[in-house]
Symmetry: C2
Subunit: 206 residues, 2 copies
């Protein structure tokens, strides 16, 4: 039986979204077809903007609007441009979205460096693939005093943090890692054993 | 702190996909930004096609390519057009994707009628919202002998099936419902009590 070719193509295209398999893509496609086409056209336009309206800060790797870049003289973002930031500290993160999370929830006032993911040789992601050569260059050029490692607490994130620690030590730069322990407002019963064991061993005297 | 406006718009637009909340949309947006922009442009184009390339069969409601429709004389789909189908049976389903599922897995040779979802007055979906007025018109006009109800086995699907049964009975049309019971290749331990209870009570002598 002949299906709609365009519908099949749409379903295939939706599967490029992370975590979306063929069954979910099919459900999404049918739902989009049953709703106002304006919504799909809107999403279509916003996806197009990825290519034409958004770029990366050449210094830290955070995403920014190209039209904002054109307004100013340099190719770097608002954080890297701001004069009153502490230039001697760099916080290293795995994903650009973490910049906003950290900047909003802390009073951190240094610079950022966004990795292109984490080290995972099995997936073909070595040091240069995730931008560590760029970071090394920055460490040797600028007068950096502290490197804060805020990579994820996954095995890959830990391996990446370990690699960067060695890199910074060679350059005689102090390295810190975000504290591990119980997340706030959480129930201990829902936590994994490793977290609880770590939090228990590192308990603080009140 | 100033984020990318276009990035925020993209995240908002992605949340129109069913089952995608803000956190998932954010993850999807960052992943799209980190992959080849061609993929996003491709998805963008396919979404645009929803408006311009895909339409619904005016008879049964299945999706079809507009260019296919233009090649033939009428506005109906390949199933409704085919001469050797049994015109006296209609299978009623909730979603257009179920047409393909049933057509591929059975030797059913009648017509289909796709509802716009199921009856759910609390969500503002009454009989005319899901297209039951169209179905009633078709039942009274054509020489229909049997109506096969293949709505989902959810509460809403059952209520919809019940409503259609009454409608068909008024028109003196035989109504059947897909059989309930254990799904094949499944483990009984994973099934809900209601299914097991039903399958047990409706057991067949071998």
């Amino acid at each position: 039986m002949i299906k709609s070719k365009y519908l099949e193509n749409l379903i295939d295209a939706i599967t490029i979204l992370p975590g979306v398999g063929r069954k979910s893509a099919q459900r999404m496609a049918y739902q989009l077809l049953n709703t106002n086409p304006e919504k799909s056209l809107h999403l279509s336009q916003e996806l197009k903007n990825i290519d034409t309206k958004i770029s990366k800060c050449l210094v830290c790797g955070v995403f920014m609007d190209i039209e904002e870049v054109e307004k100013q003289s340099s190719n770097s973002c608002h954080i890297c441009e701001r004069q009153n930031r502490d230039t001697s500290i760099i916080c290293v993160i795995e994903s650009a979205s973490d910049v906003y999370t950290i900047d909003e929830s802390t009073n951190y006032n240094g610079y950022y460096f966004v990795l292109q993911g984490n080290l995972s040789p099995i997936d073909g992601r070595g040091p240069s693939e995730i931008g560590l050569d760029k970071l090394e260059k920055r460490l040797s050029e600028k007068n950096i005093k502290e490197l804060i490692l805020a990579t994820n607490t996954t095995i890959e994130g830990e391996a990446t943090a370990h690699y960067i620690k060695n890199m910074a030590t060679i350059n005689s730069i102090k390295v810190s890692r975000l504290a591990f322990g119980l997340p706030l407002n959480g129930e201990i019963g829902f936590l994994d054993n490793e977290t609880i064991s770590h939090a228990f061993n590192e308990r603080k005297i009140l």
